[in-house]
């Protein structure tokens, strides 16, 4: 089961879960993913030790997609 989580005031929330071989769940996940991006979140996937990438389309086969807020210099 793949998972889209959002880092927020609760620690993190699971936005949606889907199975890559379930088209209905995937469609719902894609919609939820886009809604989060529209809210200003950035989606990240871990691609290896110490490596992450930003994605703008839901990587359906990823186990975990993490939503983070933008950063800025303090």
């Amino acid at each position: 089961m793949s998972k889209l989580i959002r880092m927020d005031h609760t620690g993190h929330s699971t936005v949606v879960e889907w199975s890559p071989d379930d088209p209905v769940a995937v469609e719902a996940a894609v919609e939820a993913f886009r809604a989060e991006l529209d809210r200003g979140y950035l989606a990240m996937v871990t691609t290896g030790p110490g490596q992450a990438e930003q994605v703008r389309e839901l990587p359906v086969e990823a186990d975990l997609v993490i939503l983070r807020l933008p950063i800025s210099g303090g």
Binding site: I5, M7, D8, H9, T10, G11, H12, G40, L42, M44, V45, T46, T47, G48, P49, G50, Q51, A52, E53, Q54, V55, R56, E57, P59, V60, E61, A62, D63, L64, I66, R68, L69, P70, I71, S72, G73, G74
Partner: protein
């Protein structure tokens, strides 16, 4: 929560090597690279010398002219000492822990952060509050509102003030683990971009900054030096 290794390749294909999207908002900033770090380091050294040398020479000159001017000479020496220390303090301040959220959000956030890093980094974070992350420019120590870069060579450190954008709703309510995780994911996405977006607070001698760091955080700097 255990995170299984991500399958490769992901579908749909990932975009070309990520550039931190936050960089788009700072088109006037040159992308930080090793040469840029050296330049900035040299500039900070020059600035420190420009502060220290005149005050020290003035103190010596005053004493030579008239020993009765000793109090003024001492003030000059104090300036020569205090100014670099203030800069170092500013650099160390970026690593200071911020306010805590409630226990449950903190626990959940720490769980996620723990899944993002290895055992050693987890252990170091538990002791020091900082996450050690090797990069191409050097070894990073990531805190809640800033990061420290220990370059691959040399005795300088670079202290960056960077945090979750406070203008975004919900940013201020994030638990500490999430604040670090945000920075860590951004750093892993684009190290140079991360250093470009961040504001440089200090570049200078490692020993000077170490003295200004909280005592419990100093082992993290020592570990970063060993790890580079």
């Amino acid at each position: 929560m255990a995170i299984a290794p991500q399958p490769q390749p992901l579908s749909p294909p990932l975009e070309p090597p990520s550039v931190l999207p936050e960089c788009a908002g700072l088109p006037w900033r040159a992308r930080v690279d090793e040469a840029g770090l050296r330049r900035v380091g040299a500039y900070w050294t020059l600035t420190t010398v420009a502060h220290v040398v005149p005050f020290t020479l003035a103190a010596i000159g005053l004493m030579l002219l008239n020993p009765l001017a000793a109090p003024v000479a001492l003030v000059c020496l104090a300036h020569a000492w205090v100014i670099p220390e203030l800069y170092a303090q500013r650099g160390a301040n970026v690593l200071r822990p911020r306010g805590r959220a409630d226990e449950e959000p903190e626990r959940r956030a720490m769980g996620l952060l723990g899944d993002l890093v290895g055992h050693d980094a987890r252990e170091l974070h538990a002791r020091t509050g900082l996450v050690l992350e090797p990069g191409r420019l050097g070894v990073w120590l990531v805190g809640e509102a800033g990061a420290l870069l220990v370059p691959v060579s040399g005795r300088k450190v670079f202290s960056y003030c960077v945090k979750v954008d406070g203008r975004v709703q919900g940013a201020s309510a994030l638990p500490s683990g999430d604040r670090i995780a945000h920075l860590l994911l951004a750093l892993r996405t684009d190290e140079q971009g991360f250093a470009t977006v961040a504001n440089l607070s200090f570049a200078g001698a490692r020993w000077r900054l170490r003295r200004r760091m909280r005592r419990e955080m100093r082992p993290a700097l020592d570990a970063a030096v060993v790890a580079r």
